[in-house]
């Protein structure tokens, strides 16, 4: 099970990259289709919030890959 958890870590890291690229490409396509200010703002907000979430998913994958989730903490002193 621990091996599976670690292996999936790579998938989450990859998914973070793919999701971010997909959102940026989508934003690019939508803005060039209708280059008005409100579309810029809308997609600016989407990309702006997706960047930290993608980074967070990447870190999650990295933690999983390193085995940080093999055993979860049960008390504060374990953290």
């Amino acid at each position: 099970m621990d091996l599976l958890k670690r292996a999936f870590g790579l998938l989450w890291m990859l998914l973070a990259f793919v999701a971010l690229i997909a959102v940026v490409l989508m934003a690019q396509a939508e803005i060039s289709r209708k280059p008005t200010t409100d579309v810029w703002i809308q997609w600016g907000v989407f990309v702006g919030i997706c960047i930290p979430i993608a980074i967070a998913l990447f870190i999650f994958g990295l933690f999983a890959l390193k085995g940080e989730y093999d055993r979860l903490p049960t008390r504060s002193s374990d953290r």
């Binding site: 599976l4 958890k5 999936f8 989450w12 998914l15 989508m26 939508e30 200010t37 409100d38 703002i41 809308q42 907000v45 989407f46 702006g48 919030i49 979430i53 967070a56 998913l57 870190i59 999650f60 933690f63 999983a64 940080e68 989730y69 979860l72 903490p73 049960t74 008390r75 504060s76 002193s77 374990d78 953290r79």
Partner: protein, 473 residues
């Protein structure tokens, strides 16, 4: 120390009542703005003026996606430093005050650009307050509850978001039809000035809730921590910089709240907009269907919350997400089929009456007969049942994941990113997919299906079903 949390039944009932009422009012306040967005747009954000329209876009996107998680950070931080009671009292006052003030703002026609700017600021304050409320209320109740009934007691807090939607829809529908004996005149009056009533009503509700909350004591766990001088000096740093806790925050987000957020939004908001825009049901029917479904499904928040005390939180939440992933397309497909069948029958009747044909062309909406109406209520009930499965146990799950001294901060951010960002994106991504793939009416569902699917895999692999009964550390 854990014994300090075990309250007498009367005491815990007061805690639940005070916390739930305030949280329900906060959700009510947040939803009436969304539910009345079209009316508000005509009053404050006229499309003929590009700057006003721009402010409208900001009000829509910034409140949910940026300010709400920011509110979770700000108030979570305050809640872990100062205490739960005063922090979620503050969020209630900010939310209620903002909502009341929106009801007082003169229209764009009267004061020009000041109107949309004031409304934008008030809407952002609403988003900020909402970000701080839930974590406080859930933490406050959980820290009073006995360990073996934590899921049951916190599930009352979980009912508030859905009941807030229920109350907002009810108040809007009643106000819309009560302003004049003639229906058309009543709706015209509502669109002109009556929309302010649901906003103004908020101050009464908030006043009552603040009064009740003022009489409550601080959470016993936090009070003990504070008297021992063991509170965190920097909850933000401890929550999101320290690796041991950050990994739990990430697990909460990607293994639970992300999927819960999309299931929540799809079961309620997307279902209602789907009935109105794709199935072309009229305004009242699409809303009353949701109201009935909410009414029947809401008790299940408590059922699943209580059940999670016996079997663990994880598998109930995962089961709700799996069911959503597997059945969304057939269920929404059934909604389309039922409304199409109804429309086909109506068209046959219409063919015999020229005047009705004109009427139906003008309105572009349909009303379904009683049998189909209740079938649609049944389908939306199932969708909300999934919501109760994923949402009922989640407060207890999040509370048990983090230590007392940083609990408010640590659980608020993943909750509001999961709900505000992943959930809030549901209508936009769904609409976007529909504009690209015109032929598939159900294409918008791939977004919640994909997010919930990934969440199920992460949750199943990494989350433990073991309940942490000791949350006093």
């Amino acid at each position: 120390m854990e014994n300090a949390t075990a309250q007498a039944p009367k005491g815990i009932r007061q805690v639940i009542w005070a916390s739930s009422l305030g949280t329900l009012i906060e959700w009510y306040d947040f939803y009436i703005f969304g539910s009345l967005a079209t009316v508000i747009a005509t009053q404050f954000f006229p499309k003929t003026n590009p700057t006003a329209a721009l402010l409208s876009v900001l009000a829509t996107f910034a409140a949910g996606f940026i300010v709400r998680p920011f509110g979770a950070l700000v108030f979570g931080h305050i809640g872990d430093l100062v205490g739960r009671k005063y922090t979620f009292l503050l969020t209630l006052v900010i939310m209620g005050g903002s909502t009341f003030c929106i009801g007082l703002v003169p229209s764009y026609e009267r004061i020009g650009f000041a109107a949309p700017i004031i409304v934008l600021v008030l809407r952002l304050l609403q988003g900020l307050a909402l970000g701080g409320e839930y974590g406080g209320a859930a933490t406050y109740v959980a820290e009073h509850a006995p360990p073996d009934r934590r899921g049951f007691y916190t599930s009352w807090i979980q009912t508030t978001a859905t009941l807030g939607l229920f109350v907002s829809l009810g108040v809007i529908l009643i106000t819309r039809h009560a302003l004049d004996s003639d229906e058309a005149t009543s709706i015209a009056k509502f669109n002109d000035w009556g929309w302010r009533i649901p906003f103004l009503l908020s101050i009464v509700l908030v006043g009552v809730s603040v009064y009740i909350r003022l009489k409550m004591n601080e959470s016993p766990l936090f009070a003990k921590l504070k008297s021992d001088g063991k509170t965190s000096t920097n909850p933000l740093k401890e929550s999101f910089v320290r690796k041991g806790n950050l990994k739990m925050v990430l697990l909460a987000l990607f293994g639970a709240t992300m999927g819960q957020g999309v299931v929540w939004y799809t079961g309620q908001f997307y279902a209602q907009s789907f009935l109105e825009n794709t199935c072309k049901l009229d305004f009242d029917q699409s809303r009353t269907i949701l109201i009935w479904a909410i009414l029947f499904a809401t008790p299940f928040f408590v059922v699943f919350g209580a059940w999670s005390d016996r079997v663990g939180r994880k598998w109930i939440m995962m089961a709700g997400m799996v069911l959503a992933v597997c059945t969304y397309r057939p269920l929404f497909g059934q909604m389309v089929a039922l409304s199409d069948a109804s429309r086909a029958r109506t068209d046959q009747v219409v063919a015999h009456s020229e005047s009705t044909v004109i009427n139906s062309v003008e309105k572009q909406t349909t009303t379904v007969d009683t049998a189909i109406y209740w079938k649609l209520v049944g389908i939306v009930f199932i969708l909300i049942l999934y919501v109760t499965m994923v949402y009922g146990p989640i407060a207890a799950f999040l509370v048990e994941l983090f230590p007392t001294k940083i609990r408010y901060t640590s659980m608020s951010l993943p909750y509001h990113i999961g709900n505000g960002v992943f959930g809030g994106l549901t209508p936009f991504i769904a609409t976007l997919l529909t504009t690209v793939y015109h032929n598939d009416l159900l294409v918008g569902l791939w977004y919640p299906i994909a997010i919930a699917g990934v969440c199920v895999v992460i949750g199943t692999l990494y989350i433990s079903n073991r309940m942490n009964t000791n949350i006093a550390d």
